[in-house]
């Protein structure tokens, strides 16, 4: 189950975002794509998830061009949590999660035992089993995001892409969601790729960082090697110190301040 971009040029209409981009997604690991606003990280994720067709080059899923394969077949290998999804009015949690089974279903096989098992497992893994019969509209933001993740898990794909999954969540729910992703990655060997905004969360939870700037990948690798003060200064134009996260012993970015200086 490999996912790679080979020499792709991507953009919208005539505006090119990235040119000649190469990326091999490490199998069975948690990759975070980081970079400043408008650096093309979401665009890259859209290309990897075949929502955006490269104008040149190709995205390879198991060595074959992702756009040449049947859509449902791709959806059985590659799951995606998009930035914005709309829960239909009046849908319950279990019904929404069950929709993740579409790529496995056929016209006359709409609800097999395997479908049911996958939905039960996905709801258990995300801790929404108790909400099963609730209307999605009535849930809190954090619960709702967990339901969407459950839908992606029910798809049972070896690769899962997440486009800014922590946006709109409060800090507790952000941590909860990322821990969930790491757990799935460790326990089921799911290859995860997430676009993240928070550098510290990326450095803490991902085991592979991809750093982008102005449409290009400028660094990638183990967060402990990649996340340096020079890199943050170069990519984000932010002066900082990097210290050791006392909880996880991962790099912690401490931005410098020219205004607030307290003597402690």
């Amino acid at each position: 189950m490999s996912l790679a971009a080979r020499d792709i040029t991507i953009g919208y209409d005539k505006k090119t975002i990235s040119e000649h981009l190469d990326l091999v997604v490490p199998e069975g690991r948690f990759t975070a794509i980081i970079g400043p606003n408008a650096c093309g990280k979401s665009t890259l994720l859209r290309a990897l998830s075949r929502l955006l067709k490269p104008s040149a080059g190709e995205v390879l899923l198991d060595g074959r061009d992702i756009h040449s394969r049947p859509a449902k077949e791709v959806a059985r290998r590659l799951g995606l949590l998009p930035q914005s999804s709309i829960a239909p009015d009046g849908i319950t949690v279990a019904e929404l999660v069950a929709r993740g089974r579409f790529p496995h279903q056929k016209l006359i096989r709409q609800w097999s035992v395997a479908d049911e098992t996958a939905v039960v497992a996905a709801m258990a893994a995300t801790g929404v089993t108790d909400l099963s019969g609730e209307l999605v509209d009535t849930l809190s933001g954090g619960q709702r995001q967990r339901v969407w993740v459950a839908m992606v898990l029910a798809q049972q794909t070896p690769i899962v892409l997440l486009d800014e999954p922590t946006t709109f969540l409060d800090i507790a729910h952000q941590i909860e969601l990322l821990e969930l992703c790491v757990r799935l990655n460790r326990e089921q060997g799911t290859t995860m790729v997430a676009v993240l905004h928070d550098l510290n969360q990326a450095a803490r939870y991902a085991d592979h960082l991809v750093v982008m700037k102005a449409g290009a990948i400028v660094a990638q690798g183990d967060p402990r090697e990649v996340m340096t003060a020079e890199l943050v200064a170069d990519v984000f134009a932010l002066g900082c110190r990097i210290i050791d996260d006392p909880e996880t012993h991962t790099p912690l970015v401490i931005p410098r301040s020219s205004v607030v200086q307290r003597v402690g």
Binding site: S49, A75, Q83, P88, G90, A94, F102, W111
Partner: protein, 345 residues
């Protein structure tokens, strides 16, 4: 181990490779709607200048009873009832498709200008060619399809988005309505009158010769809809979510639009613009069934019921004067209610 869906669900698994999950409430609602539509149908078959009791009607349908009863019921009245049911279902489906694609309860074949365009087509045909039944039907088809196509092209920018489709549709409709008005004022009275009658939408004067082509074409379109499975519901979750689940969004949406327009085209060609059914049926069905999003089968059942009962009322309310079914203003009342509700949100 079973999943709590928050509503009563029936799981059928006769074979390892054959399975289905059915929500009980929508299934019951559909059953009741179909039975109610059939009951009104039986009433309609029995009423008119030659009155029959429901049991006489059923006997005539079964091939028994007097020759006169069979003639009136089967030859004269049955085609109209069948057409009301089929066209009602077709309009319900068309409305459901448009509302799901545009994710808007105001999305209907009308809103994208189909009916207005069809009317323009009919006006042009009656004025310049003549007002035979098939001529008018052809004019309606050509006008409607041309308008729908124009709206699609104008609304297309990196794919079609629901809201833009509606806005462009309203703009084109407004232009065409004024063109229609101008036409009616300018042309001779008789042609204007003929076109205006068509413009009310009516099942008057339909017979067996229309039933077979309508049933076959609507049937084929239904098969296509079945073939696309639950993709319409997946599209409702947004383009990215649908694509991630393995739906080819742009192609599928275009297919649905074509099916929706074709269903509307058949209905409009046969019976004129009976717009309210497409607008109201999916929403009413959703309120009754409480399905997530717009569902096709309940919308079809509701459409058949609505058109059946509206046509029955149109025929009987001011008997012996038969009103065109479009006059029965379920549509208008519903529309106001919908707007008020939307505005309150």
């Amino acid at each position: 181990m079973s999943v709590d869906f928050g509503r009563r669900v029936l799981v059928v698994r006769p074979h390892r490779n054959v399975s289905a999950r059915l929500s009980v409430r929508p299934a019951l609602v559909c059953l009741v709607l179909v039975l109610a539509a059939l009951a009104v149908g039986v009433l309609a078959l029995g009423t008119g200048e030659f009155t029959l009791t429901p049991s006489e009607v059923l006997r005539a349908l079964g091939g028994e009873g007097t020759r006169a009863a069979r003639l009136v019921v089967v030859e004269w009245r049955l085609p109209r009832v069948l057409l009301a049911l089929i066209i009602g279902a077709a309009l319900g489906l068309a409305g459901a498709v448009f509302q799901a694609i545009t994710r808007n309860p105001l999305g209907s074949p009308d809103v994208i200008g189909f009916s207005t365009g069809a009317y323009t087509g009919v006006l042009i045909v009656t004025v310049f060619v003549g007002n035979g039944y098939y001529l008018v039907a052809a004019g309606a088809l050509a006008g409607g399809l041309a308008t729908a196509f124009a709206v699609y092209l104008l609304a297309f920018r990196r794919g079609v988005q629901g809201f833009r489709l509606i806005i462009v549709g309203i703009a084109i409709s407004a232009m065409l309505s004024s063109a229609n008005q101008w036409f009616i004022i300018k042309v001779d009275l008789q042609a204007a009158f003929a076109a205006a009658i068509w413009g009310q939408g009516s099942l008057n004067g339909l017979g067996w010769s229309q039933v077979t082509p309508v049933a076959v074409t609507v049937g084929v379109l239904c098969l296509l809809l079945i073939g696309y499975g639950p993709r319409l519901s997946l599209l409702e979750m947004g383009e990215d979510a649908a694509a991630a689940l393995g739906v080819r969004v742009e192609r599928t949406r275009l297919a649905y639009l074509v099916i929706g327009v074709a269903l509307t085209a058949i209905a409009t060609a046969v019976a004129g613009p009976i717009s309210f059914v497409a607008l109201a049926a999916p929403q009413l069905a959703q309120r009754l069934t409480r399905t997530p999003g717009i569902a096709l089968v309940p919308s079809a059942a509701m459409g058949a019921f609505l058109l059946m009962i509206s046509d029955f009322l149109a025929q009987r309310a001011f008997a012996p004067t038969q009103l065109p079914v479009g006059v029965v203003s379920v549509g208008g009342i519903y529309f106001v209610w919908l707007l008020v509700r939307q505005a309150r949100r």
